[in-house]
């Protein structure tokens, strides 16, 4: 069943008055509960694509449908609400809020976006922290934990609102290979546990290991899509 559908999507930026095409007529479909990776070198359009799916940006042409909603029709407030309900984000630089503890960082989306009863909120956070292996670090601040741990917290934060999609833009770019692979494994594990669709981008083909579907992007077009059997990826 389709969760994300892109139809002939182009995205053009104006850089110093010069139009630069980041995506050129891209069409693709991502099904529910899939684990998809976009790979490609820097500037290939991976981040632009994730921004469009994440309703952070709007296409110049074409349609981006996420969970049946055309993202171009959403205004700022509605887009924010849509993201809060439907999409979780994992960022390259972890982007944890430095003044909040690990627990509070995971709690933040629930406090800001959803009215969840205190007991349920606590159970959900502790469960997620346990699943990503950060329960014993819950009272630490982001500057007290390692990069890999931060990204695990970010994964828990992305999942805490029970989103349909988690978008991860270069989630392993700032991690060493072993840690990067561990983070991807955790994401895959979470996908299996919660049935969430994971879409992530990377420029490092070595860490796409567990992706079920790998799209290769170059200069704003898909040059290859590679379906894999579960757990059968390259490392």
């Amino acid at each position: 069943m389709n969760l994300i559908r892109l139809v002939d999507v182009t995205k053009t930026y104006n850089t110093a008055g010069v139009p630069v095409a980041a995506l050129k007529g891209l069409s693709l479909t991502i099904h529910r509960q899939s684990f998809v990776s976009f790979i490609g070198p820097s500037g290939s359009g991976k981040s632009t694509l994730l921004n469009l799916i994440g309703t952070l940006d709007k296409p110049t042409n074409g349609k981006v449908l996420v969970d049946g909603v055309d993202v171009a029709t959403l205004d700022r407030a509605n887009a924010a609400a849509f993201r809060g309900n439907t999409i979780g984000f994992v960022f390259q630089n972890f982007n944890l809020i430095p003044v909040l503890t690990v627990y509070e960082n995971v709690e933040y989306p629930l406090l800001m976006l959803k009215h969840v009863a205190v007991k349920e909120r606590r159970e959900r956070i502790l469960n997620l922290l346990d699943k990503v292996g950060m329960l014993d670090q819950k009272d630490k601040y982001p500057n007290q934990i390692s990069g890999g741990q931060k990204q695990r917290v970010a994964v828990a934060r992305a999942l805490v609102t029970n989103p349909k999609i988690v978008l991860a833009d270069e989630p392993t770019a700032n991690l060493d290979h072993a840690t990067a692979f561990k983070v991807i494994s955790i994401m895959h594990e979470m996908k299996k546990v919660f049935g969430t669709t994971f879409v992530f981008s990377t420029h490092d083909p070595k860490i796409v290991g567990e992706a079920e579907l790998i799209y290769t992007l170059e200069d704003g077009v898909i040059v290859n899509n590679d379906k894999k059997e579960l757990n059968g990826g390259t490392r």
Partner: protein, 410 residues
Amino acid sequence: MRNLIKIAVRNLFRYKRRTLLTSSLIAFGVVLVIVFGGLAISFKTQMVGVLTNTAMGDLQIHRKGYVESIDNLPLNLTLSGAELAKVETMLKDMPEVAAYSPRIKFGAMISNYAQTSNMRLSAVYPEMENRTVTELVKRIKGSVPDPDNFLRLGEILVPDNLMKGLSLKPGDEIVLIATNREGSVNAVTLRIAAVMENVFGPSGKDGYMHIQDAQALLRMDQPEIVEIAIHLQRFDKLSPVASQLKNESAVPQAPFEVHTWEQLSPFASIARIIDLLIFVVKFILISIVLVSILNIMTMSVYERISEIGTIAAIGTPPRRILSLFLVEAFAMGMLSTVAGIAIGLGILWIMNLTKIDFTFGTMNVSLAPSIPAGEIVWVAVIVMLVSLFAGFQPAHKASKMEPVDALGHV
């Protein structure tokens, strides 16, 4: 809201030194307003108290047109016995009026049989005057065993500089010569009861005598009252009482006019300058808060662009982002205000313990600085409102950021 406050306070303490410096600046402004305001208000209150309680009374009633020619001390603008009776009835019906004192004021010549000088006289009923101008007896040199009888028939209180100028001493006899309203000159012999000090020091030529002696000197069949001084139960009721009396005097057939001490004393200008200074200090405080909060919040937004992008990306609505920064600005204003008020009140408390004494003219005044609760509330409310106002622009900027641009900011 609790969570917004928690995050806002933590963000404030993210940069402890900067927050501390800015808070100190705002708190200093609050302290300045409280301490300066406390001292200035206390000084003004004391001075007004000295003026109204030693000479003027809180309000004065005269025949219409008298105040315009007050420097000439005219005796043809007086209230007759019947008119005085009507005014007295009106004053007795007003619960706010604690006491009143009818006076005859006129100019006269004083002679020690060898030299003559001019002086101004207030002829009073001692008991009524003492109850209206409650600290008048403090101006009399030496002890006054019975303040209600600080002056007897046949006695006069002479100001200090006239005593020295005419080489007089208490107990001496003088002659007082005056012209009445018909132009007839008369004289009376009086004994000096005591020396009367001017509240502003050894200047002025104001003396006191009994109203019945003045009546005889001026050949009045019955007292023709020039002035009625009024003392109120509560000084803060001055405006409503003055308004009420002015309404009564506005009736065409009413013979009298009403003036508050402010309209009669040049010190009112000083009081207004004090109020202006307090306002200037408040304006400085507002400027400090505005610039400090605007500065720190602008820096805060600029430093946290990527973080703003993150919270926007994970679904925080723009309105919530606005609130987050506004609460931060408000929290800073509030913390600084609370600290400033605590320090300011502490300083006033210490000043009260140590007692600040000074001499105003011949009066020893003990300054007990305090600030009305309303002023503290004003300071707190204005600082918080200005904090919100100053925080709005940076907060608005944060809420309007496109998450995709903010996330890409380095």
